[in-house]
Each structure stands twice: as C-alpha cells, then as structure tokens.
Symmetry: C2
Subunit: 334 residues, 2 copies
C-alpha cells in the first residue's frame, strides 16, 4: 500500500518512524508493504514512485525546516495528483475555522478514489457529512481513529467490535489538559489559575489555553463522535459547551467533601450533545486523574464499556493512525 | 450462518434471545441470516435443518427443564454430527478439572471444519494449544471473547484493534466478585468474612466462593490471555496464584491511609503470569470499585490502554459472543 503523508510536524514524523519500525512485521502479516511515495508540509513536498526513505525525510525536516525539495504553492489538487498512491495520511494541523488545508486535501484524495486516514479534527468536526459522502461515493474509506482520544481506540471499538450492539450514549473525558488541571486543583487544593500555570509550565497546556480549557477541543471530539457513531450531522458549534474557567477551588473542595470530583465531561447521544463540568463519584471510572482520555460507551447488551488511554503524543497518535492502516491492510487482503 | 448451540443455561438462553432480537439488523448489515439449527443441554437435544424457533426452545426449557425432545446420551460426536451447521456456540458450564464436555464439543466441531465461539473458560485454560491447532489445521476460527471479562472486549481489542502494536504486558482485575468484596471492605470498613457474606447474600458470590476468592477464576482468565495474546502454552495451574482470603481489615485500612486500595490483580506477560492482591493508588484506573472487570494493556506505541466492563451476566456474556459472531459474519462477506 502506497502512502502520501500530508503534514510533517510531530505527528507526520511519528507516522513515518512507525512505518519504518513496523514495516517488516506488517508486510509479513498482510503480504503488503507500506511505502511512503509522497509527503508534504506547508511549504514543500517530495514524491517518489519507488518510495521515499524515512530517515532522509526526517533529517531534511530537522536540518532545513522542510520535508521536500520541491516548493509547495498550496495547490493540493496538483500536488496530490503528482504521484500515485493508495491512501492519504492527512496529519496537517487542526484548523477549526474552516478546516483547511485538511478539507481540501481529504476531498482531493477521496474524489480520486484514495482512502484517507487522519488525525485532523477540524475537517471532521466541521464537514463530516460531505467528507463521508465523498468516501462512500468513491468506494473508499475515511478513517479517523486518531481524531478522538489519541491512542484510545474509541471509534474503531464502537464501530467495529461493538457493531452488533445498539450504542445508546457515550460519556467521557475527551481532553487530557482539562483533566490534569481539575485533578491538580483537587489533589493540591490549587486555585484554577495556578493549576493552569503549572500545566503550561509542564507543556501540558498551551500558552493560549482557550482551545482546551474552554472546551473547544472536547466539543470537536464530541461532534465527531455524534457524526461517526450516532449518524448525526453536527459541527463543533452545535455542541452545548461550558469550559472549566469557572470551576472554583471552593467547588472542588465541596465536591471532595461529598467524595466526588469535578471532571469536564462530554455527553453524546442521538438526543444530547454537550460538554460541561460534572460531578463524578470517586471510584467511578470517569473520576480518573492524569491526562488520559476516557469514555464510557453505553449499549443495549454490554451495559457500559469503558476505554481509556493517552490522549495525545507523537507515538500515541501514530498508534491510532497505524490501527486504521492495519484495518485497511486487512480489508485489502480479501 | 447456521448455528449449533451447546449448552442451554443462562448464557445459551441469552444467546438465543439476542439472536432473535438482532437477527434482522444483522442480516441487513451482512446479507446473511443467523439461524439456530441445533441446540443441546446436558440431557437433551433438538435439531432442525430449517431452523429452530427460539421462543419454543426457551419455553420448553422453562417448563420441562430441558431444551430438546431427543435424549442426549453424552455422545458429542453423534449429536454434533446429526445436523449441518457453520458455527458451534459452546456455552456449557466451565469445568476446570478436565474441561469437559467443552473440550469434546469444541474438538468435534473444529475437526469437522466448523467455527467455534465460546464463553467456556475451562477448555481454553486447560487445552488451549490443542484447540487452537485444531482450528488452524481445519482453516476455521476459534473465538473466545466471552471467556475473559464478560462484556469487556479485551481479546478482540488486543488481537484486532491493536494488531499493529507490540503488547508488552496486561494487568487487570479479572474477577468482579473479589473486587466487590475488597471495595466493600474499604468503603465500609468491613472484615473479609462479612463482606463475603454480603456478596453471597446479594448473589454476587457463590455459596462455595473459593473459585472466585482463591483466584482460580482470575487464574483461568490470566492463562487464556497468556495463550491468546502472548502466544504461550499455559494452563491455569501455571499461574502463580494468591487469593484474597488473607486480606485483613487492617491491611485495607493501612492502604487507605496511604491513599491506596487493595485489588486482586492479574499480571500477564511473556515473562510473568501471576494473580495476587496488590496496592493500587486511588485515582489509578485499576482502583475502580464495583464488580467490573478492567485491564490495562501496555504496548510499545499507545503506552497503555485501559478497558473495563461488566464481567458477567446473561446479556453481557451474550454481547461478547455476538461480537465474535459479527466478526465471523464480516469475514464471511468477503
């Protein structure tokens, strides 16, 4: 299977490293080689029918600041048309204003009959229906395990392993940064501002933290789950959203007295789409600390199934992308 | 897909009800009907090429105490040869002395080229290699999601969704009864004997509780995971095993002072196979209360993935069996 990788930041580099590391195992298991035939970042691209060498790509990115030798002028159609490939790995940065350049890259690939595997939340939180229709019309797959919960296999678990179940609702912690802050407030009795500063110093929160703490990231993921699992047509702005700025020391301490913790919970069902701070009893799966993401999937037969994992990180995200690639390899085998 | 259901206790009845309830959805999704063409319990059997009516089977079992009109003399070969089917659903009671009648039923079906889906721990904790070799030799599948963790999709998650990962170790709570007892000891400051009695009164623990509290059930599941995921050849007696009878009120309360709880943890890797009480920090995923089963799967890329769900129950177990059936239906489609 020939791959074009659009985006060569931390995630794109992680994907290339993982493909290099796992290539032999996968080609043994599935009788197909994974080969990177194209790659681009925001200013350059590189293609080779015979396959690009991962180490060269990473070395060039590190030394020259760009992955390719050819300048990229922003024309996705032309660039993605310059080499043949089977699957586009779309890992450009998330843009929640208009989803670009992700949307253009994905539509170009899907409309040419190429599978798309992505970690890019923006396009799926904004234009899910259009993208999934393009995939369906062209008989290819659009896979996006990495968009929700990092390494946590929420989407493939729900859509594949639980395919015989009726999924009634999903509730969970979809943002590790908020969970870290709320947990530190509780554990150390810190005020919000101080817990946030600590998270920023540790590189867990961004300098501009609003994407996380105002619940935007969680809302994107909630919208994607609503679309992917409940077959709705929602964007992230359809999500009723309250962040964690208003969570006070006093509220955290009152909750503690009742053996509860405050967690930023996303709630997704065919009737409800909301992200807000909630009280969770200590000992309940959603009372988990740290930066993990966790969801509870409520179904008609299994009752509820909880799945948790690391919500972000180079190899964690590459892991989710790899699981989608493995599913494509498996389907190809038949 | 034609099914023979061996065993018609709570699980067998649950499976038949679920097939009745989900039949139409599945045949729409996969273009194949699930049809029950044979069923047996310990004293009777019934077959029909054209399919048996689930309601009639359940009604007869309830009113007459047996599922079939024909007496079953224990000759599995003959009974399982009396009708053609594609998949044996083996849900007879677990026997950890010699695995029978499960082993005989499974080998008969596998050697005739039939898939086997089972919830029966005994055969897989005692004779895994022989059974999986029979499946391989005959080009059929042996699926056993329901043997570990009830509705919790531990095996299919590890073997399918995480197929690209190297799984380094698995740790978890594999028995809900022990977890309930340990959690009540902590929450209410109860001595072991009293928490056990409470669990017995609630129907969570058996009259003879040793299968649960001495760690035998957990050890069976640990052995199955060792075989299925780490490709070892272990039986449950290879598992180093300490139960929870020796866990005192004092130990639980000391742990509490250190913000820890005691949990019966199974640890499985290529180098380690053990079930024993362990200290777990409060807030850690494995500090979970209630009767859930939970495991953490440690991998090279994802770090760790935690999955939890109900460990037992009629529909919970049927749910795991259904997920295996769905996987077979999906493979059949190609």
């Amino acid at each position: 299977m020939d791959l074009f990788i659009a985006g060569f930041g931390v995630i794109g580099q992680g994907v290339v490293e993982v493909i290099q590391q796992k290539g032999e195992m996968l080609s043994k298991a599935f009788g197909q080689r994974l080969r990177v035939v194209g790659v681009c970042d925001s200013s350059s691209y590189e293609t080779s029918k015979r396959g690009l060498d991962p180490s060269t790509l990473i070395r060039r990115k590190l030394s020259e600041g760009k992955v390719g030798t050819k300048p990229f002028d922003g024309d996705a159609e032309r660039m993605l048309g310059s080499v043949d490939y089977d699957t586009l790995i779309e890992v450009t940065p998330t843009n929640i204003q208009n989803g670009e350049p992700g949307v253009a890259n994905m539509l170009t690939a899907l409309n040419r009959g190429k599978h798309v595997v992505t970690s890019n939340k923006g396009p799926l939180a904004l234009r899910f229906k259009e993208l999934s229709r393009a995939a369906e019309k062209n008989g290819v797959q659009l896979r996006f395990e990495a968009t929700v919960g990092g390494a946590t296999p929420i989407i493939n678990l729900s859509r594949e392993l639980l395919r015989g179940e009726k999924i009634l609702s999903i509730r969970g912690i979809l943002n590790g940064t908020c969970n870290f802050i709320l947990n530190r407030m509780k554990e150390e009795g810190l005020p919000f501002a101080q817990a946030l500063r600590e998270a920023q110093d540790m590189g867990i929160a961004e300098r501009d933290p609003s994407y996380d703490i105002d619940g935007v990231d969680s809302a994107c993921k909630a919208a994607i789950l609503a679309n992917a699992i409940f077959h709705l047509d929602r964007t992230y702005s359809d999500v009723k959203r309250t962040g964690i700025r208003g969570v006070t020391e006093e509220a955290v301490s009152l909750a503690s007295e009742e053996k509860k913790v405050i967690r930023l919970i996303g709630e997704i069902s065919s009737k409800r789409l909301e992200v807000a701070p909630r009280l969770v009893p200590i000992g309940h799966p959603l009372s988990i600390g740290g930066t993990r993401n966790i969801v509870q999937i409520h179904t008609d037969l299994a009752g509820e199934i909880t799945v948790a994992g690391r919500g972000a990180g180079k190899f964690e995200t590459a892991s989710a992308i790899l699981s989608d690639l493995v599913a494509l390899l498996k389907d190809n085998q038949k």
